[in-house]
Symmetry: C2
Subunit: 433 residues, 2 copies
């Protein structure tokens, strides 16, 4: 029997997390399936940023570094994010961007291997990793006289875990396909081979349960503006396992990572713990907004926290896949994410059958015009069969319900069935897609 909208209404009513949506200001008429790119605006953010601007900056001015606790914010918000990724208080800080934090931790990992196992000169990652990670790794490979090797398939990773490997650098949840690695298994296998592992949690933090300590991870970084709802370009985070943190300096040695920044001494002495991963003065307005975003995820703790969010996320993505295939399969829609929920983050990607591939971008635009916001990620033009264009949909259980999923698929059905994507305006590409 087909799933009805009424079925979905019942599921929304029974959803123990349904009240969490009231934390956000969602535009009317929008089904937002792009929280994996930019999370939505929490209701608390505007007031908090106003307070920082008017009272803390405007009235109290320079004093706020002490009186408003500005100086402690990177650690205070870091402690909150730590609760979402299985880290302990004092182990994680908020600073700079994801790219910069990757530079810091990957550089540290390479330095440690240079000390401990100088013959190891290989960084391994996936060709499908988010480009900025690869760009940073290329820069550091050059600097360390190392080589970056990219695998095309997850199955190719085990063969790379050998005596040449210095660092395995992976994004836990793939930004394109939503494929989710087994963090603990891969970390342990890499360790057994003598390598260190850097995990990018950009699509994990706030999206799937992460337990860095249980996985015995070495280094992790992540993004503040996706599932953490921190706002456009929100500062990112960095975590280093306590067994490594004091063993090496990181190269971006700005004054706020100093053991005693306000003594203004001439020589750099890194702070004892994770604070050495702070560099310059943090962008306070964006930092304050990030805290409001992180708080929206922590608000799920009384209902079971990340485990409960994951349960709902899987239910939403399973529903989306079932409906998309039932309603739109005959119109050429194919699943491009793993079918097994255990191998999937909080997103689902679809692709269109070969003869519709070139319509993919316009289909996403037609959906956006209907208020269903997902995004398009181009495939490999040289081999669309292997890497097709993708329609990417993120599911944030904090603010999405089952009726939203039902309606999104219904819109997709209508766009395809009525061939709305043929409207010329939908084929015009913007700069950011």
């Amino acid at each position: 029997m087909p799933i009805t909208r009424q079925d979905c209404e019942v599921r929304d009513q029974q959803d123990p997390l349904r009240e969490l949506k009231s934390q956000f200001d969602l535009p009317p008429g929008v089904i937002y399936l792009d929280g994996n790119s930019l999370g939505v605006l929490p209701r608390a953010t505007l007031g908090r940023v106003q307070e920082v601007i008017q009272r803390e900056w405007g009235q109290d001015l320079i004093k706020s570094w002490n009186t408003a606790g500005w100086i402690d914010l990177p650690g205070r918000i870091g402690d909150k994010i730590a609760r979402l990724v299985g880290a302990r208080p004092g182990e994680l800080i908020v600073a700079d961007s994801t790219s910069l934090n990757l530079y810091k931790v990957l550089s540290t990992a390479l330095s440690l291997q240079q000390q401990d196992a100088p013959q190891r000169k290989l960084i391994v990652s996936e060709r499908s990793n988010f480009p900025t990670d690869l760009y940073i790794a290329q820069s550091l490979a050059e600097q360390f006289g190392a080589r970056l090797h990219l695998v095309d398939r997850v199955e190719d990773i085990p063969a790379c875990l050998n005596q040449e490997l210095a660092v395995l650098m992976l994004t836990e949840v793939n930004y394109r396909t939503g494929y989710k690695h087994e963090m603990a298994t891969l970390t342990q296998a890499a360790h057994a081979a003598g390598a260190l592992v850097v995990w990018d949690l950009a699509h994990s933090a706030g999206a799937v349960p992460v337990d860095l300590h249980a996985a015995e991870a070495d280094f992790a970084i992540g993004c503040g503006y996706k599932y953490l709802n921190g706002g456009p370009g929100a500062p990112a985070f960095a975590w280093v396992h306590p067994r490594h943190v004091a063993r090496a300096k990181q190269p971006l040695s700005g004054w706020l990572g100093h053991a005693a920044p306000f003594q203004f001494t001439t020589d750099y002495q890194p702070a004892a713990g994770i604070k050495r991963y702070i560099c310059g003065t943090p962008a306070l307005l964006s930092l304050a907004a990030l805290e409001c975003g992180v708080d929206t995820v922590l608000a799920a703790e009384p209902q079971g926290g990340m485990a409960a969010l994951r349960t709902k996320s899987i239910a939403l993505t399973e529903l989306f896949i079932a409906l998309a295939e039932a309603r739109c399969g005959h119109l050429g829609v194919l699943l491009a994410s793993p079918r097994d929920a255990r191998q999937r983050g909080s997103q689902v990607c679809l692709s269109l059958q070969p003869e519709l591939q070139e319509a993919s971008y316009a289909v996403v635009q037609a959906l956006i015009a209907r208020g269903v916001i997902g995004d398009f990620r181009a495939g490999n033009p040289a081999d669309l069969a292997a890497t097709p264009h993708i329609l990417r949909f993120g599911f944030t259980p904090l603010y999405l319900g089952f009726v939203d999923v039902f309606d999104a698929v219904e819109h997709l059905f209508q766009v395809l069935q009525r061939e709305e994507w043929k409207t010329p305006q939908f084929a015009q590409k913007g700069q950011v897609t």
Copy 2:
């Protein structure tokens, strides 16, 4: 005849820049002499940040990267700052923090020398440079197998301009003393010796006229939250002379510095011009606030821009010195900044005679309690005669007038004459001083 408050009132009435103060929300009863540390809040900032939060992020969400021009902001604000420092459109970008931008440009400078003159292995700077600059230089010296040599006196710089020198790295206006280097003279002397020069404009941009092209400078960086009024931790900026920009990659190769970031290609190809100095996604809320701050300085353009601001800045600092010496000289107040205005940025530092040195911190606190906000910078406890404790006062002509200066000195007189600094609460040190 002594200068009276009435004289100052007349000067305020005759001040062609007096209307610029209306751009700011200053707390009542405050004379803010700390704009060299954190500029005050522009009136436009709150509304602009509200707009970014509510409309651009909250309503338009991910679309705002295109529709609100988020992607162009680093260059757009960069072009505005360029007008203040003698750079041309398209040559300067806003990104990350001052420390990180220094890492980028100093690394590039060292790379270029490694190509062109590999025997040059010396970075020269001043021991009194702002510590974060020295910390970053230490990290890069280690990475490049170079050595950082610090001079104790400005007069020692010329002897360092020899065939060993790779990079001369200076902050144009010293953060402690306000001493201002002759940028053009030093740059040309360094070039004549075959060296490159990195200028930190943290205390210059928006404070003194800078002409990077006239000076034939190589690299410059600067801060957004001091004289540019960009807000706490506002993003910083970087400039590279067009003759260098395409010759080398910078190492912090994040995706937004790529030639085509939205093609998501695997290999890093730097953007053609200064955009290669962008790294990760910018902190948008802080970036939007920075633009409002920069606009407050550009608002002086119809009245003569930086030249007019400099004229008033010199008038304010000369008045402050004259009054401080006349009113407080017999109470132990000494000038600790250059007496010649041409050698001074937009700040004046005072110190107290030797027997009052230990009271310096409490004097600053007593002034703050009276609403006169300056700051304290500790001297060298091993040699307070050579490097005394300092009472530091910044003068921002955009929002300060001559009566403010008169009143500030009158407060200092009363603090010293009534020995208010002996009040126990004023001796308690906070973390950030």
